[in-house]
Subunit: 342 residues, 4 copies
Amino acid sequence: MTHSIAIIGASGYTGAELIRLIATHPSFEIKALAANSKAGQSLAQVFPHLRHLDLPDLVTWEQIDFSQIDLCFCALPHKTSQEVISQLPKTVKIVDLSADFRLRDPADYEKWYGNPHAAVETQKEAVYGLTEFYRDDIRAARLVAGTGCNAATGQYILRPLISGGVIDLDEIILDLQCGVSGAGRSLKENLLHAELSEGTNAYAVGSTHRHLGEFDQEFSALAGRPVQIQFTPHLGPFNRGILATGYLRGDPQAVHAALVTAYADEPFIQVLPFGETPSTHHVRGSNFCHIGVAGDRRPGRALVVAALDNLTKGSSGQALQNANLMLGENETAGLMLAPCFP
Amino acid sequence: MTHSIAIIGASGYTGAELIRLIATHPSFEIKALAANSKAGQSLAQVFPHLRHLDLPDLVTWEQIDFSQIDLCFCALPHKTSQEVISQLPKTVKIVDLSADFRLRDPADYEKWYGNPHAAVETQKEAVYGLTEFYRDDIRAARLVAGTGCNAATGQYILRPLISGGVIDLDEIILDLQCGVSGAGRSLKENLLHAELSEGTNAYAVGSTHRHLGEFDQEFSALAGRPVQIQFTPHLGPFNRGILATGYLRGDPQAVHAALVTAYADEPFIQVLPFGETPSTHHVRGSNFCHIGVAGDRRPGRALVVAALDNLTKGSSGQALQNANLMLGENETAGLMLAPCFP
Amino acid sequence: MTHSIAIIGASGYTGAELIRLIATHPSFEIKALAANSKAGQSLAQVFPHLRHLDLPDLVTWEQIDFSQIDLCFCALPHKTSQEVISQLPKTVKIVDLSADFRLRDPADYEKWYGNPHAAVETQKEAVYGLTEFYRDDIRAARLVAGTGCNAATGQYILRPLISGGVIDLDEIILDLQCGVSGAGRSLKENLLHAELSEGTNAYAVGSTHRHLGEFDQEFSALAGRPVQIQFTPHLGPFNRGILATGYLRGDPQAVHAALVTAYADEPFIQVLPFGETPSTHHVRGSNFCHIGVAGDRRPGRALVVAALDNLTKGSSGQALQNANLMLGENETAGLMLAPCFP
Amino acid sequence: MTHSIAIIGASGYTGAELIRLIATHPSFEIKALAANSKAGQSLAQVFPHLRHLDLPDLVTWEQIDFSQIDLCFCALPHKTSQEVISQLPKTVKIVDLSADFRLRDPADYEKWYGNPHAAVETQKEAVYGLTEFYRDDIRAARLVAGTGCNAATGQYILRPLISGGVIDLDEIILDLQCGVSGAGRSLKENLLHAELSEGTNAYAVGSTHRHLGEFDQEFSALAGRPVQIQFTPHLGPFNRGILATGYLRGDPQAVHAALVTAYADEPFIQVLPFGETPSTHHVRGSNFCHIGVAGDRRPGRALVVAALDNLTKGSSGQALQNANLMLGENETAGLMLAPCFP
């Protein structure tokens, strides 16, 4: 059975990644592409790498006939996303890739994003989109809120360890390197090739990154008590990829065992043999997440490193995985493409 | 119908690319992977990005039971390739990715590669693997010789123009930039990140690059007279991609028209509207080739620029396209994945 | 004797490069830094890499007391530059890095840049700043117009060959790769790391690049007849560096000899032994230009490749070299720093 | 007064960096360059970026007439270095850039490097080369052992904090990203551009990196009790630069104050205003080290980030700074060049 798909926000990187993935999906058909600032342009003009696809030109989202759409991906900036989604017909399933519906408590949203939430009612029906941990809810959902890419990576490391009670909840440090596509297609000086290539730096220091809102919400719910991790992202001179390095208190073998068990049946999460750690090179362009564990010379300390592609498993791949569940398709459909290395 | 596939030389980049592509092929099944220097290792050890695949460990090529193999890709260095292929059973179809069977005349081979050809009889049955121009021969072939990656790019520009008689055969200049994966996984100082990144240089200057052997052979046959182009490759600080810029004498509109006509029905060759030129960014990781044409302020001069991914359309993607033909499959099977941008 | 220096347009890359070079100049002292859009900021805010220098905060150019300034570098965008420079006191020597005073004929300026020249009188006193060929004029000049970075590179290849009569003036092709800093610190989508890294493309195809105005002017004057070259620039995924590849008709040995002779006493131009060609890696961050010559299998064809750093020898290094001459200093002062490799 | 300098190990990256820096040093003159594997070659053959320098060809170290040498830099691999240095005349001052004389206790050396120390007597006279903290000893030394580049970066963060008693000695985590030139000019698969660019990974996980030997020695001596930090390096896709991120327990303001005080008079160490953190882009090619401090939402936790260029401040720049002291020159001579950005 073929499902009719719309993408709103098709001119950004997560929009392009959705189109790339759906291009080889066996049962999804893109019926509408919206990008209000570039309405009227062809996809080849906006993304020449997709010129071989026979797809409709870009329109405004208001021009879409949603009566013909089964599921709509919404890849807009936060704040805009909630405004648009609250106006869409309730008959359409939605996977939102923005930050707007990730935080259950509107007060949390306002705290981290600075503006009051403008679609509180819609928020109530949103399901948090970390597929491996919300699979059943996602299957039944109308609106799924895709996670932050950093938030996904950190949770792949930490959820099984918190659930399994194998680490000290008060001593969690997450150090992360993120590729530049995570910042989107935005015109900022620090994202220019001349400024970014050939070096690295920390940003959002002092545990001020917005994805901490997700960590707080999810880890506290999981632990049944407040959990606040320390988190520092770095911007790396590469386009795709997140490498998260967790400094944890707990027995490294127990940590490894908890991860192996948690992900034993997961198609996309690969836990490496103990002592091996992953590289973002080896997940690039794919929906896989590689996780490795090592010990330390001081007992009781574990190092966990996770690698994924922020645009795929961290965003658009996750979104497609969720859409597959929401539409009753095979969860891995369109997502088994191997990483592109070198 | 499922076809059983072997890959010899599976530990190099073209080997890895073959595996990546075949991973989502609907009817090819990899039965054996050989890499004599790494025999006994798992694929995950040699290429961690392929660890999710359920594939056999590496063996030596002599250990393969060829009675179970329908088609064998051979991704060995030149010289080694001819030695191995001449020992394989004649019942196995072969797509060779080396330079060993590209030149029909063994004297040409010796001239460009320095050693006498050691499999002259086998050479006689080889078909040159530029799919779009040897499709029928490839369908019927037992042994197909994959083209050089630079040679493929140049021919996509020049063949229709030579056939169409729209350019001056004595005034062809081809300037080319090639990504570093074209040099393979070899340990050379100039391929180190520290030496190669953040700059560029010409190499094989003075029209001494070995792929000129292919250009000479093909263009002269096509023209029915000797054709010698001038060709300068450059090494660029990127992993995948070839951008070829052709400086030609002829009417630009006629040049564009000849290319549009030649590739009108080709699934992988996209000719851009007149005046637009392509970028390697937009074909990365895919089997597509984009070609653009512009004029010059001086009449009678045409600029043609072609972009493809050297590992895909320039090598392993071409090989798979040919294998599809040789085994009676849909020519595009496993090859429609969209470029990976950004 | 210490010279007082001002820099207008200090917040762009050529401004930063001027400051970097002058930082170790024995007799230049920066007295004022202007950048109207960032007036009031410290240099450390605009360019953190220069935070160790004890320099004045940024001001508007109108705030500079020019009675205390011996020489002013003007690193503004074209069009703005002519407006500002025509208002500066005539007692101040000026090195302009923009395109505004490079073309002697205002009609040429309007043809290539689209707007009428607004400072025609000032234009009349401008000297073209290609140091090695206008040394005496520069020494005596009040206003020197820095050359285009691509224009400089091409001229280093071609001027001695045109003067020497060793090449065919109607068959000159210049293919060029330029690093991204050549485009300045401007917020454009195609200059983002995510769009530019890991690939390359041609631009300004069809011999439409503005630096052709300089080539036409200079080569025609030199030859005493109109000369129009064919010129295609490419944008490469590196920050600094231009590699120009010239396809020429002439005897390669005579071409090499002409270059060796022309540059025998030049401190910054290095002609390599015949058959060797340069790399941009090996001039990065320096004021050197490396030039190499090779032949072709077809006699009468020469390949000449030149490499320089667009920000240094192609722009700010050239500007400082000219300022040294204008102020009676050693021409190489502040400019002998070795390239930064790797 | 001019000092005569020799460099042994001139064909590696730290050797090249020494030559680059000394090229503009006012009173150092290079008299001999040794590289046994490349003896007989010119410097231009080994490092084309240094071709403008009028320097002697490479020789074997045994060919150097040390009676004419005031100071010898030794940039050999560890193990080789101790063998060579123990054979040099005692009249020559030596700055060693290898790991061979960094660890005072030969048992520590054997533990971390795997082989017994073969020059125990020579070890006894070695002074540890972290300039800012061993300045007086270095001035008087005959043999100075350059520090590890990661070890230098970590110590710039931690020494003032340990001395000042402002952090918990048992809770020190150092997360580090290092550019690829830190691995030297060695032919390893993971250092190829195709393997390294466009991604990142951890290495030497589990606090097994050899530079921990230096951290243990120095921090324990400073604290007067054993100190063992947790340390994870990552390999980043850039050539130059180390970014170290320290996760510390202590009051962030007190941490910042301790660093500001410690480095107030240091010419090369710049402590940023509280809350700002540095970038490796802004120290590239220079001898500067930028350090920044931030707090965390949880009180009592401090984040300290330091950036330096591993080849300059982390290795050859440090070596030159020490040589200046040993020869009675201005400590900053030849070292004030500004970072090369972009």
